[in-house]
């Protein structure tokens, strides 16, 4: 209590007025202002970090979307094709054919710069795979000139992106200073140019010596099949569990125990689910390794508690009067739940599910143990069933793998992959927000 109130007998009159602030009020106001300032500072700090993060992701990741390509027209004859196919290292044979023809073409065109076959080999990426793939698919093109758009080596690409500079170049068997003169000459002749890197968006992973061929497309497909498994398992199981627990189950020690355990499961580190998945799905149930099916099952386990908790919250948010009214007009309990409560709770359930899926989409740790992290370059699965069981990677796993590779060109790919992953996550979160805005009802 204040001094004034506890000393009613004091002779001094109240000095404060509503128009002038006394010390205490000033202090209270000041503390409120301080608190607001703290809040604004906190938001500013968070925003600053967000901006720094986005800026650095975009700055490091955007270069992954362009690539340096060479436009070359050349011919492979039937005899050369058969000769190359008869070897063990077929792609190398195609590469040699390509280099020899390019060398001849450049010599004919009167290139001013000194060069040899080794220089061309250093400048160009691993092109043999692309060439072989083309002729395997189009044998009728043999013997005719075909124009190819082939990717250059990662260091030449880095030269255009500022990663490799003439001053900082350490001569090595990967690239020499004189090669850059040839690159400049080729660029002037219009043979080497920058292009949008479609292969990065559609392709599969590539070996460590071939960053130009690496793409995230196959792992997007892997993630997609995993999310399908999560959606079709976690949503029905989660919703059924929560409806039972919330609407039908008696409140006793058992249901309390289950409830506590579900909350605990939500806090279990995701790697634990990976270990569980390895032991149960792969070693016990003999499901295939590195398969999106197993990845999806593991992530389902991880996502279930999230979905159950959010579903129960949204079921609780439906007012009891709705249930009472339905029961009052003679509906069975099941009818009340399925006809009235569940539709009203649906926006909340879907929001929770999407948030859970988004969380699962970005998860790497459990995939480490079931063989989805590493070099998984199967390309696209042929068919739906193959999509679930053929080895594949997932987006975060692919990013993690790239970040660990020696060639810095892969580091750029990792950032580029992060941009795609973030786009997916943002889309999912936006869908969740729209669902909530559009269908949520308040009572």
């Amino acid at each position: 209590m204040t001094d004034a109130a506890t000393n009613p007998g004091a002779a001094t009159p109240r000095k404060s007025s509503l128009l002038t602030l006394d010390d205490r009020t000033r202090r209270r106001n000041a503390s409120e202002a301080r608190f607001k300032a703290y809040g604004i500072t906190a938001i500013a700090v968070a925003l600053f970090f967000l901006i720094v993060l986005l800026f650095s992701i975009l700055r490091s990741g955007l270069p992954a979307y362009t690539t340096t390509v060479a436009d070359v027209e050349f011919t492979v004859t039937q005899a050369q094709y058969e000769e190359a196919e008869s070897q063990l290292f077929k792609t190398k044979a195609y590469e040699q054919l390509f280099i020899a023809q390019l060398q001849d073409q450049l010599t004919e065109s009167g290139m001013q710069v000194e060069f040899d076959a080794a220089a061309i080999e250093r400048i160009m990426g691993k092109v043999g795979g692309n060439i072989r793939e083309f002729y395997q698919a189009n044998p009728d093109q043999l013997g005719q000139p075909v124009s190819f758009e082939l990717s250059s080596s990662s260091r030449v690409d880095g030269y255009y992106k500022g990663r490799v500079t003439r001053e900082g170049l350490q001569e090595s068997r990967f690239l020499q200073l004189s090669d850059l003169d040839l690159v400049d000459a080729l660029a002037e002749a219009g043979i080497i140019r920058q292009a949008f890197n479609w292969n990065f968006i559609t392709g599969a992973d590539s070996g460590v010596d071939n960053p130009g061929g690496a793409g995230i497309g196959a792992s997007v497909v892997g993630s997609f099949f995993m999310m399908l498994v999560v959606l079709f398992l976690a949503l029905p199981i989660g919703v059924a569990a929560s409806i039972y627990l919330e609407e039908f189950a008696p409140k006793n020690r058992w249901t309390d125990l289950i409830e506590v355990n579900i909350s605990n499961l939500a806090a279990v580190p995701s790697i634990v689910f990976g270990i569980l998945g390895l032991a149960v799905f792969i070693q016990f149930m003999h499901l295939p390794q590195s398969a999106p099916l197993v990845g999806g099952l593991v992530l389902t386990l991880m996502t279930l508690p999230t979905i159950i908790i959010s579903t129960r919250a949204s079921l609780k948010a439906v007012p009891p009067s709705i249930r009472d009214a339905a029961l009052g007009v003679g509906a069975s309990k099941m009818q009340a739940v399925f006809h009235h409560v569940l539709p009203l709770a649906m926006p909340g359930i879907l929001t929770g599910t999407i948030i859970g899926l988004a969380q699962a989409l970005g998860e790497t740790a459990p995939l480490l143990l079931i063989g989805m992290v590493g070099f998984v370059a199967r390309g696209y699965p042929d068919g739906i069933a193959a999509g679930f069981v053929d080895p594949n990677s997932a987006m975060p796993a692919q990013i993690y793998t790239w970040a660990a590779r020696a060639d810095v060109a892969f580091y750029e790919k990792a950032w580029g992959g992060i941009i795609i992953l973030l786009l997916f996550l943002m889309t999912m979160n936006i869908i969740a927000i729209i669902l909530r805005r559009r269908f949520e009802r308040r009572w």
């Binding site: 063990l88 793939e133 590539s206 003999h286």
Partner: protein
């Protein structure tokens, strides 16, 4: 609500997939992160050059890979384990207990281990094994006595080295690289500084003294890196005085950031490693489960493709990436095509 339908279809999908999963058609590989780059190059080429699907290669370290390799025989276990060291007796025993008895050992080549620091950092250009031992050994010899490592800076025990704080990033114990580092650097250094002799004359048995030599100081001057070389590189990037242990191929891919030091006066390169002059190198292996040959399509072809002259030989893509080609590759090729298992060929 269609919850029931959803559940039904989900169960149906799971069932269909599970039956489709009956036969694995790809080779499954796991193990050393040092061998991973080579294995991934081979896997990509194998997929491009044959009709078999591209093998899946996982990382995780030699020990982790061999552990998974030894889990048993069957499609749910891996076919090939990559290792940056030879398989140990107790691992062979563990394998045998789980029914993995016939193992084909394949040596793919050699890898150099280099000591590198920041390009613009202090002039760490020449090391001897004794320098590394003095820097990070738990107990070292000072004035004829074995004491807890008192050194804070390199110049304190070797005037030729810069006066920079000791900060070494060495591979963690789950890496095969660690074993080579211990054998070829720490133990050598321990003997060269006379610390080992002093320990033995103080009453330790030879084995105990060797173990004591391999103890690394725990006061933060030496940091175990359990991740990949990229993690070591990141630590070096952040620490001017940092010295990291890398594979030759990794260093050669990052010459713009790292400068390498000579070891025992020899600078590391594929030539000095192949000739055996550079002291810190080790063979790289992969191990094939013989029981899986003929069951997993393409397994033997993968092994043969890996060690073919065109791939693992001089001038091939592996040596181009930094692997030191094995001069006895022809023997390895013969052993692979005859499916010689460990024990039978020796």
């Amino acid at each position: 609500m269609s919850v029931m339908k959803l559940t039904a279809s989900a169960v149906a999908i799971a069932a269909v997939s599970a039956t489709a999963a009956a036969a694995r058609d790809n080779v499954q590989v796991a193990g050393s992160s040092t061998v991973l780059p080579y294995a991934s190059i081979v896997a990509e080429l194998f997929g491009e050059n044959t009709d078999y699907p591209t093998p899946v290669v996982e990382s995780g370290g030699s020990s982790a890979g061999l552990k998974r390799f030894c889990e048993g025989v069957g499609e749910n276990t891996i076919d090939v384990a990559n290792a940056s060291r030879a398989i140990r007796e107790k691992e062979i025993k563990a394998c045998a207990e789980n029914g993995v008895t016939d193992i084909i050992e394949v040596r793919i080549g050699y890898d150099g281990i280099v000591f590198a620091s920041q390009q613009s950092g202090p002039a760490f250009t020449a090391f001897q094994p004794s320098d590394i031992f003095n820097a990070i050994g738990a107990k070292v010899l000072v004035d004829g006595e074995i004491v807890d490592n008192p050194y804070n800076s390199w110049s304190e025990f070797n005037g030729d080295l810069p006066d920079a704080e000791i900060a070494m990033f060495i591979p963690g114990t789950k890496h095969g690289t660690r074993e080579v580092f211990e054998d070829k650097v720490l133990l050598e250094g321990c003997e060269a500084t006379g610390a080992m002799e002093a320990m033995m004359s103080a009453g330790m048995s030879e084995d105990d003294a060797e173990d004591a030599c391999l103890d690394v100081r725990q006061d933060g001057k030496s940091v175990d890196i359990d991740g990949d070389y990229t993690e070591t590189l990141a630590r070096i990037d952040a620490n001017t005085n940092g010295i990291g242990v890398f594979g030759l191929a990794f260093y050669e891919n990052n010459t713009d950031k790292l400068k390498v030091a000579t070891m025992g006066g020899i600078s590391p390169s594929t030539e000095t490693i192949a000739s055996g002059e550079y002291p810190v190198s080790r063979p790289l292996f992969f191990y094939v489960k013989k029981a899986h040959i003929g069951v997993i399509p393409g397994l033997k072809d993968y092994a043969q493709f890996f060690v073919a002259d065109e791939i693992a030989g001089p001038g091939g893509p592996l040596s181009n990436y930094g692997l030191v080609a094995d001069p006895e590759l022809a023997d390895t090729q013969a052993a692979v095509s005859n499916e010689e298992t460990m024990g039978s060929g020796m």
